[in-house]
């Protein structure tokens, strides 16, 4: 009879286009009625609990009319206890109905875009305390990396690189390896170790900590300036390089042929394909990775019913801490966060040009983690938009709040409280820029009833992985939320089409001199898509 307690709401959605005023008023009215009903049911449950207490109390109250030392009437006591149990069950049922009514009201508001998750006073106080302490940490780090000793170190490093002259020759291109077999089930056993438990407690305050560190590190310039300081330091330590894209053939992919002859079609499929580009695959149950070498991105050419063409660029995330061979590393992360020219942004432009994207054909940029930052940075870049009109942006687990995307471009961000990465911009999901075109879906995994979400809530890696972001997207779509429906509808008009051709490109860092030209090796593989090109698996020669 009582059933299960309905799960609490885990979603927080901001931005997007809401309802017309008349519809919004109707929704507010209906949900207010149901909220009042929930309150009434809670009061009824409370009365029942009091009634139960009165019955139980009687069973141990001495009978003033009974003979001295006479025992209680055993039958009457048993009857009273049984009755008290039935009243207790009724109270539990009413509590459940109260929760269900409140949940219905909340879901209606959420679907109509009229619900915003707010922090409690305690959460705000703890957040302020965390920020204040983090400023001190940031200032200390700034003294270390920006102080005289560090500046001398950077100057010496740059001087030595200058003395050594430009390096020549290309780093060896790693061969792709066969992807692991597809996952057969999601992790559903939540880790109970100390680190996981601690992370579940502190995760909601990660944005305040990062924002505080950013202020301490970057002063008035904030997090972007702080990232610039670190970026300069890392750039000084790394050899100078440039990036190029190498077109891959099917032979360069160690996994089964992805068979992406159809367009992604949906936001979910575009994100899943982005996850497939990782050497280890996406982790999505039943999907095998394409077996691409590290540092691979994909470009889909989508042909629509009316004969027009659009492009979808799939950009994966960080794959190494610092990589000499490809730009999907922490150095690029810092460049992007500092709003500086980043290698991944450059390779997206190159890949589109190699694929043959015309200047009037819209491009949808889809990215995970670092790829999402690059996608948002490109959409915010007037220079990129001058070459390629941006048709939309989708990011999963990316810190993007510091970028301003242009009006008219639909943007969807997927984030959660426990993944850490998307809060590296110092803002929680609810603090992302919210415009009629830009929607952020945040989620608190720890509050979810889904075992896979609970498992992910104690693991940064699982929380940041593509399957978790896809569950967030599914929850947002299932909620019927008008903002999410609106933005995904606009994106999917470009993601879907009658047919598609997908080209894969390996982004490579090279220290080759200006006269060095990359050429195909002896295997001379052609380019997927027939444009002619280079194969990383065949090696490269200078000529």
């Amino acid at each position: 009879m009582t059933g299960r307690e309905p799960p609490p709401e885990t979603l927080a959605i901001s931005g997007g286009r809401g309802l017309a005023r008349v519809d919004a008023d109707a929704v507010q009215g209906a949900s207010a009625l149901l909220d009042a009903a929930a309150e009434g049911l809670r009061q009824a449950a409370g009365r029942c609990t009091s009634a139960q207490g009165a019955l139980v109390r009687w069973t141990w109250t001495p009978d003033p009319l009974a003979a001295p030392f006479a025992g209680p009437d055993a039958r009457a006591v048993a009857a009273a206890v049984a009755l008290a149990d039935r009243v207790s069950d009724a109270a539990a049922g009413l509590e459940l109905r109260a929760s269900r009514a409140a949940r219905c009201a909340l879901r209606l508001r959420l679907a109509a875009g009229l619900y915003r998750r707010t922090e409690s006073l305690v959460e705000q106080a703890v957040g302020a305390f965390v920020s204040w302490n983090a400023v001190t940490v940031g200032a200390a780090v700034d003294l270390l990396v920006g102080g005289p000793a560090a500046r001398t170190f950077v100057a010496v490093s740059q001087g030595m690189k200058g003395l050594a002259g430009p390096a020549t020759g290309d780093p060896p291109v790693p061969r792709s390896v066969a992807p692991p077999p597809p996952a057969t089930h999601e992790a559903t056993e939540p880790s109970e170790d100390v680190a996981a438990t601690l992370w579940r407690v502190v995760a909601p305050y990660a944005d305040e900590a990062v924002a505080g560190i950013g202020v301490g590190l970057g002063g008035a310039g904030g997090l972007t300036h702080g990232a610039g300081t670190l970026s300069d330091l890392v750039d000084a330590l790394l050899p100078a390089s440039e990036v190029r894209v190498l077109a891959l053939t099917d032979a360069d992919l160690a996994g089964p042929s992805p068979g992406w002859a159809a367009p992604s079609g949906t936001v979910a499929e575009a994100l899943a394909r982005t996850g497939d580009l990782y050497a280890q695959g996406s982790g999505i149950v039943g999907r095998t990775g394409v077996g691409a070498p590290e540092g691979t991105l994909a470009v889909e050419q989508v042909t629509h019913d009316d004969g027009t063409t659009s492009w979808t660029v799939l950009i994966p995330g960080t794959q190494e801490l610092l990589s000499p061979t490809h730009p999907f590393d922490a150095a690029t992360d810092l460049d992007l966060m500092a709003h500086e020219t980043a290698d991944v942004s450059a390779v997206v432009g190159q890949a589109l040009e190699r694929a043959g994207a015309d200047e009037d054909e819209p491009v949808v940029l889809v990215g995970h983690s670092l790829g999402g930052i690059a996608a948002t940075a490109l959409a915010a870049s007037p220079a990129f938009r001058a070459r390629h009109p941006v048709g939309g942006v989708v990011t999963a687990g990316s810190p993007t709040a510091t970028f301003v995307t242009p009006a008219g471009v639909p943007v969807l961000h997927l984030e959660n409280d426990e993944e850490l990465v998307s809060t590296v911009d110092g803002r929680s999901s609810g603090e992302n820029p919210a415009t009629p075109d830009r929607v952020t879906v945040g989620r608190r995994l720890l509050a979810s009833a889904d075992a896979a979400d609970l498992a992910a809530s104690g693991s940064i890696a699982l929380a940041h992985a593509m399957p978790t972001h896809l569950r967030t997207l599914a929850a947002a779509r299932d909620s019927g939320n008008v903002q999410v429906a609106g933005v995904t509808g606009r994106l999917e008009r470009l993601l879907d089409g009658t047919r598609a051709q997908t080209r894969f490109f390996a982004a490579r860092r090279t220290t080759a001199g200006p006269d060095a030209v990359l050429a195909p090796g002896p295997e001379g593989a052609g380019e997927a898509g027939g444009a002619g090109g280079l194969s990383p698996s065949s090696g490269r020669t200078l000529r």
């Binding site: 009061q43 009634a51 019955l55 049922g93 109905r97």
Partner: protein
């Protein structure tokens, strides 16, 4: 809909002999249960009015389905409270 009309009346069986404190406890419990019944009935009435939400969408349809299911359960709760109040009254 359930009714409260017969709650104040004795049942078909003769009342059991109750002690003074038991009568007081039963009276208190009964009053509380009747108040709970009234609150639940009011809540059900409010929930029923919310069904008239003037928003045409898939989410609104689902809302109506959920509230309708809730109302069925609340009818069961009302009947249960009525029965308990009757038993306690005896």
């Amino acid at each position: 809909m359930t009714s409260l009309d017969r709650l104040g009346h004795p049942g078909p069986l003769p009342p059991t002999t109750v002690l003074g404190s038991a009568r007081e406890a039963g009276g208190e419990a009964r009053t509380l249960l009747l108040t709970a019944h009234r609150s639940t009935a009011d809540a059900a009435a409010g929930a029923r009015r919310s069904l008239a939400v003037a928003w045409e969408s898939e989410a609104a349809e689902r809302f109506r389905d959920e509230v309708t299911a809730l109302l069925v359960e609340l009818d069961g709760d009302l009947a249960r409270l009525e029965g308990l109040a009757g038993v306690v009254g005896r």
